[in-house]
Amino acid sequence: MKPTQPPSKILRAYGDRHGDGMVQLSFVLELPPSPRAREAAKRFAEAHGLREPLVAAMEECAEGYSFFVVYGHSEHSVDAATIDVPEVRVEPLGREEIEHRIKARLGRKLVVVGACTGSDAHTVGIDAILNYKGIAGDKGLESYKGFDAHNLGAQVQNAELAERARALRADAILVSQIITQRNCHKENARALVELIESQGWRGEVILLLGGPRIDHELALELGFDAGFGPGTKPAEVASYLIDRLAPGAVVKHA
């Protein structure tokens, strides 16, 4: 199912009056404050397509460097109608419904193995999804009778994760990546997929990727089945897995 497309809609930024294109830009240039630096900031803003840029602030933030705040009317626009992003659209099922479907349609526990991989030690996100405690009142997968959830914790190497998942005959592997400096999360995530593919069991497992800078599109790009961003609730993940493994749930891909 596709959500209804909005009618072609050219969007400009909006501040005071419709179509004014107002945006705010801040940056540092290697120049001490001066009329010349102000002019440089103006031109820099203009290069981004800002008309009538107003340099609201120019302050020396380090010796020989200035921090600028600029406002200007952006000449750019986007057409919202041309944007078609893949979305995991899960209408989360209730706890009972989830338990029921696993029992009725699968007749066994769903095995999931999760970890925060590579040098990343940020476990709070994966814990929120897997551990009993959950997040914001939504209990984690461990709390379901139908799930057998294994949380391997922090800084788990891809090889170790693959091995454990294989040994546990996992239905799904849940990978969390929080550190994104210079795109280290992408490399690390992609490497896991490659590893599993090279071992020949990619088809037997669902791969989920999550983290504050992850979206579904990126996850697909990296070879995962789905991606989950900030604010994900365990019930959403459960619902998605059930849709894949015990189909019938209301899951839409846009």
């Binding site: 501040g15 005071d16 009056r17 419709h18 107002m22 609201a56 602030a57 705040v69 406002y71």
Partner: protein, 515 residues
């Protein structure tokens, strides 16, 4: 509770002095009228519309009688006579005054008493209209319920009333309790009120009756959507302050910027004119149950906020005294003050706390209006946002009633959609996180805050002694407020003032005065 020491006797003495100051002026007010007052009267009776030059009917009529030297008898006198001489309606009567072939010089014919009698049903209708505005508004307010104090007050100012309406709804969505439409820069000096919906204005949007209606509809819708009452406010200030007060009353506005002296000091409006006009505006405001917001915050944009803090307090006493004389209740007096101390000054926050708490205690029943930092804002919007947070903290700690939210773009432009959104969000955070701070702390008995509060009250008292001694006319002449000096006959609009004749007629004013 975080209170500051407050010498009750000194406060009482300040009130006495302010009363003396106001009484002195009141005797002038009671014997004078102005073109503004007379136009307001005509409007209230029901005259409306503009000619093909855009000149309002009420201006045409009043100017004609003023030019003829007939204003001292009151425009109502002539209106009543026009009714008696066969005008179908008030509108017809007013048109005769404005455009009729002959000018009625008031010689012979019906007496003032007869004119008054002829107007009686119209006087009643005029009062009813104000009362209906109030009743409707209050009923609706009861039905949705307002948010908690401090009320979050934001301004919209696109220049186009339709954009304003959209921005007002956006503000309500983001958590605003009060929406003000800022007025175009030039309007306060216009000696007439523009007409109809307007879409062009610099620095703000024209205050017209139609604009009031458009924005009021929008904020009423917003209130229904948000399930929270949204107060609407505008400016009863400048040369048309009393006409605007009337427009606001009948269009159901909740608050008005309205000050006994602002026009004199900041718009160079003639003193006599301003004092007369503010009185009538406040008589209407009193009846309509509108909350005024006085403009003492402005003092600190020209004068130093530490040195001249006491002038704010002194002026608040004076504004209170004038308002009381116009029948305005304490619960309607949103006395203004502001967070304008140089933020880089040591303990500036404590100094602000002292003043805010002092004002809160002295005017305990008044819905105090607390204004954000503006003067020391720069284009560093990040720093500006923090500065506003500290202002919010003082607001919630000292329990101010109405808080005009600071905007991080203060030094740059009129607030935009995102500026208001972020400001409302940050304010919500500070109010929630620090909700009971004021109940929780006490100030050291002889600390910086307590000493500062004492000093400000002492200085205000000293100033009031001087002002009462010299009279307000001369005091303003000497620059007692906002470092601004004005003379009694200087400034704009003086020619629009007239001494009332012994048989001056204004039945509406009589009714508003409870006579």
């Amino acid at each position: 509770m975080a209170t500051v020491p407050m010498d009750e006797e000194k406060v009482a003495r300040c009130r006495e002095l302010a009363a003396a100051v106001a009484d002195d002026v009141q005797s002038y007010i009671d014997t004078h009228t102005s073109v503004g007052v007379e136009r307001t009267t005509l409007r209230a009776y029901g005259a409306f519309g503009v000619d093909d030059q855009g000149i309002p009917l009420v201006n045409a009529a009043v100017d004609r009688y003023h030019a003829a030297g007939l204003l001292p008898r009151g425009i109502a006198h002539f209106l009543g006579r026009a009714v008696l001489s066969g005008a179908d309606t008030i509108q017809d009567a007013a048109e005769r005054l404005a455009y009729g072939h002959d000018l009625d010089r008031g010689e012979g014919g019906p007496t003032p008493a007869e004119a008054r009698a002829a107007l009686a049903p119209h006087t009643q209708a005029a009062l009813d209209r104000i009362d209906r505005g109030r009743d409707d508004r209050e009923a609706f307010k009861r039905s949705v319920g307002p948010g908690p104090t401090p009320l979050k007050y934001v301004i919209v100012a696109t220049g186009n009333i339709y954009d304003d309406a959209l921005q007002a709804k956006a503000a309500a969505f983001a958590g605003a309790d009060v929406v003000a439409v800022i007025r175009a820069t030039a309007q306060s000096l216009l000696d007439y009120v523009p007409y109809g919906p307007t879409t062009e204005g610099y620095g703000g949007t024209f205050a017209t009756q139609e604009n009031f209606r458009i924005i009021r509809t929008a904020t009423r819708e917003a209130a229904e959507e948000q399930k929270r009452y949204i107060h609407q406010t505008n400016y009863s200030s400048g040369l048309c302050m009393s006409e605007i007060a009337w427009m606001a009353a009948v269009e159901g506005l909740d608050m008005l910027l309205n000050d006994a002296m602002y026009g004199i000091l900041f718009r160079d409006i003639n003193m006599c004119r301003n004092f007369v006009d503010q009185y009538i505006s406040r008589r209407i405001i009193a009846r309509a149950g509108i909350v005024i917001n006085t403009g003492e915050d402005n003092y600190l944009t020209t004068a130093d906020a530490v040195e001249k803090a006491h002038t704010v307090l002194a002026s608040q006493f004076i504004n209170e005294a004038f308002a009381l004389r116009a029948g305005v209740k304490e619960e309607q007096m949103g006395l203004g003050h502001a967070y304008e101390i140089d933020p880089w000054r040591e303990d500036s926050f404590l100094t602000e706390l002292a003043q805010a708490q002092l004002v809160r205690q002295i005017f305990s029943r008044h819905p105090i209006k607390w204004m954000p930092p503006t003067k020391h804002k720069t284009g560093d919007i990040f720093q500006s946002h923090v500065h506003d947070a500290m202002f919010n903290l003082v607001g919630v700690t000292t329990n101010q009633s109405i808080e005009l939210l600071g905007m991080f773009s203060e030094a740059i432009h009129n607030p935009m959609l995102m500026d208001r959104y972020l400001s409302l969000k940050a304010t919500r955070y500070v109010y929630t996180a620090c909700k009971h701070l004021g109940d929780e702390i006490e100030f050291k008995a002889d600390g910086i805050v307590a000493r500062r509060a004492r000093q400000v009250l002492d200085e205000a008292l000293a100033q009031l002694e001087e002002v009462a001694d010299a009279g307000i006319w001369d005091s303003i002449g000497k620059g007692a407020f906002a470092d601004v000096k004005r003379t009694r006959t200087g400034g704009k609009g003086f020619s629009g003032v007239a001494e009332r004749a012994p048989d001056y007629l204004n039945p509406l004013l009589d009714a508003l005065e409870g006579r």
